[in-house]
Structure formats: structure tokens, C-alpha cells
Amino acid sequence: MNGVHDLGGTDGLGPIDPKDDEPAFRSDWEKAVFTMLPATLARGFYNLDQIRFGLEQMPPGDYLTSRYFEHWLYTIESNCIRTGVIDPDELDQRTRHYRLNPDAALPEGGDAAVATLVETVCRMGASARREIEGAPRFSVGTRVRVAADHPYGHTRRARYIRGKTGVIDLVHDAFVYPDAAGNGLGEDPAFVYTVRFDAAELWGPETAAPNSSVCFDVWEPYIQAV
């Protein structure tokens, strides 16, 4: 989808103002939200690409102004509701309870195996790399153009590279295809390539930074040789 999340090259977002020494989490709720991600991914309720698609569907004004873990909350919540893991009415009811009683305790206990599972997911990860039949269609040095169309679902084809021409710099293994997995259409793995685009191709010679390029990873269906 053409969302405001697709920020590459958008102007007007203001200064970056980098800070050092920020804490990993700023509150207990951030820790809980963070842990919900590996916990639910481990259980297979949805996949990482669906989590990303959920982020993208956050109302644009909220997306641009809320904090990072609010984005996570949004997508975990909407994905859990979508998949029936959580009942929205129950969630609303429980939210009112904790809003009125902020110090009310969480339910106790639970299986000790849960913590071990979630910790294992964090420590081991889960690669999206897949073995597939066949060989990559393109090789290093091939000039390719990225498809210029505008799908409605989840995609990793940023708008700023659509229709643009670059050169393949790296050929990788096959990985889960986000345009399938993010839209609930299976893994459909495809080869991934790093395509290097001259800044002038992306932004035009007048505003492009001199002597610079962007390396962008594409899945094979995104590109055609030119």
C-alpha cells in the first residue's frame, strides 16, 4: 500500500536531533509490548510481514506522531483481534478495569515454559531464508528496473524506487516473499537482490547528493532486466 509509513524521500519531517544514551525501554508497558512480539510470533498467530502490514495501517496522523512502541501496540492488537486471539470487547472491558485501577495486579502464574520459549526466540531468531528450486534469474552487474505499479496490500517496494533503474550489486539466497506472506498468501519465497541506485536516478540530478547511491533489497518479482 502507498502509506505514509513509506517515508523514503518524504520532505517536511523536521530535524533528526539524535540523542545518545537512550534507555531500551522507557516504561513497563514498553517492555510488555516488546515481549508480546516474540511471544505471539512464536505461537504462529501471524508472521512478521503481517506485523509490518499492521504497522502500515495505523491511521496516518497517529503513525507520524506517536511513539515507536505505540506502533507495536497497534499492530499486535489489531493482528490479535484479526486472528481471533483476542476478543475486542473483552480487551475494551479489561482496559477500562485497569484504567480505573492502574495498580490492580496482572493474573498470576502461567507455564514456566512460556518464558523459556520467548527467550529462545529472541536468542535464536527465525530466519526468513528458504531453500527453493532453481537459480536466480539475474546476476551481479545486471541493470534492472523496479516495477512501477501500486499494489494495495503489503509490499516492500518503496515508492521512491518504483520505476527506477539500478544495477544488481549482490545476489542473495531466497527469502519469504513479503508481498505474499504479509497478505496471508503463504511464504512463496523468492531470490533477493541488492540493487544499487544512483542518487541522481532516484531524485533527479538537481537535488541528488553528489557521488552517492542507495542500496535497496528487492525480491525477484519486483524487477525486470532493462
Binding site: L7, K19, E22, T35, A39, A115, C122, F216
Partner: protein, 210 residues
């Protein structure tokens, strides 16, 4: 007289005050605990990993080893995931890593314009500025301005800037150049010079105290 209504799939307006958000999260947490998906112990253990254990000091150690061990450096550039595993580094959001090497003629810098992908196992969780719209929007469009004005890094036009937009599940990070005047330093002292920003590509390693 309503202002623009933007729909959400979530019943009710999206919560925004700190108290509203905390209550919402606690409710979600409670339901997940009851359904056997989550425990408070899981939250404690996972957050402890990223608060106390996994952070840029891990990447720094890897960089320092690459600076002092040419064969390790070769392995790191050939297969970063495997080389990091040698040093016990790996895991979620670092299942498939690639390290790109700064040289006298090319500088690399990492961004994720579509979300906030970042190599957690070697750099820890990303700083806010990395995740927020300004960095994500500007780094691919005006890298020299961003490096100079926001990070104090004036890269001469003779040095190519290559921006890596982390659009796939490959996690890129930067092997910065070893600072001059560090010939006498050991791996541990070198690691202390390696900043998080130098591995994102928006900074240089610290210089040794003279």
C-alpha cells in the same frame, strides 16, 4: 464540528495518554497471560536481555576483532552471520546479517525507510531517532546534509556515500575504519572506541585519548 475522523480497526479511539496506553497494554497482557501466550516472567526475561545484555558493545567487540584479526575480518565480510556466531552474537533480527566496510573512498550508512529494521543482536534495540520519521525520510534523499548537519560528519564529495535501505530481512551494519594512532591498542581497548553510530554509519569511532 468533528475534526478529520480516521478510522481504525480497533474499537474506540486510539489511546494516547500515558495512562490510557498503560491500561490498554496491561489489559492485553492480562488476556495473553490468561491464554497462556505470555507470562510476567517472560516480559522480565526478554526485557532484561535487551536492557543488560544485548547492545552495541557486542558489535564493538566484533569490529575490534576484525581490526586486529585479518582472517576474522575476511570471514565477517564474507558471512557476517556465521562470523558473529563465532563470538556468540546472533538471534532475533540478526538471523541474516551483512557487514559493509568503510574505506578511504566509500562510506556506508544504514537506514530502514519502510519501518525500523536494525541488527538487534549486535547493536541492541535502535535509538529513537533511527525509528522516527525524520531520519527515515531524509537519509536516502539527502545523506550528505543529514550526516553534516545532524551528525557533525562532513564527508568530502570525493568519498562516495552508499546508503543501505534495509528493505529485506538482511540486516546491514557497518565496519568502520580503524582510527589512526591505535596501532598499540589491544582488542579490548579498540572495542571501547567503537560507537553505535559508527556501526550505523552516521559517525566515526572515537579517537584514542592521547
Amino acid at each position: 464540528m468533528t475534526s478529520i475522523q480516521i478510522p481504525s480497526r480497533i474499537a474506540g479511539p486510539y489511546p494516547r495518554s500515558e495512562e490510557d496506553i498503560a491500561a490498554r497494554v496491561k489489559a492485553l497482557e492480562a488476556l495473553m497471560i490468561e491464554k497462556g501466550i505470555l507470562t510476567t516472567e517472560a516480559v522480565d526475561r526478554v526485557s532484561a536481555i535487551y536492557e543488560n545484555e544485548v547492545g552495541p558493545q557486542i558489535g564493538a567487540r566484533i569490529v575490534a576483532k576484525a581490526w586486529t584479526d585479518p582472517e576474522f575480518k575476511q570471514r565477517l565480510l564474507a558471512d557476517a552471520t556465521a562470523a558473529c556466531r563465532e563470538l556468540g552474537a546472533g538471534g532475533l533480527q540478526g538471523e541474516d546479517m551483512l557487514v559493509v566496510e568503510n574505506t578511504d573512498t566509500v562510506r556506508h550508512v544504514v537506514v530502514c525507510t519502510l519501518c525500523s529494521c536494525y541488527p538487534w543482536p549486535v547493536l541492541g534495540l535502535p535509538p529513537n531517532w533511527y525509528k522516527y520519521p525524520a531520519y527515515r525520510s531524509r537519509m536516502v534523499r539527502e545523506p550528505r546534509v543529514v550526516l553534516r548537519e545532524e551528525f557533525g560528519l562532513d564527508v568530502p564529495d570525493s568519498v562516495e556515500i552508499r546508503v543501505w535501505d534495509s528493505s529485506s530481512e538482511l540486516r546491514y551494519w557497518v565496519l568502520p575504519q580503524r582510527p589512526a594512532g591505535t596501532d598499540a591498542l589491544g582488542e579490548e581497548e579498540l572495542a571501547r572506541l567503537v560507537t553505535r553510530n559508527s556501526m550505523i554509519g552516521v559517525g566515526d569511532p572515537d579517537r584514542p585519548a592521547s
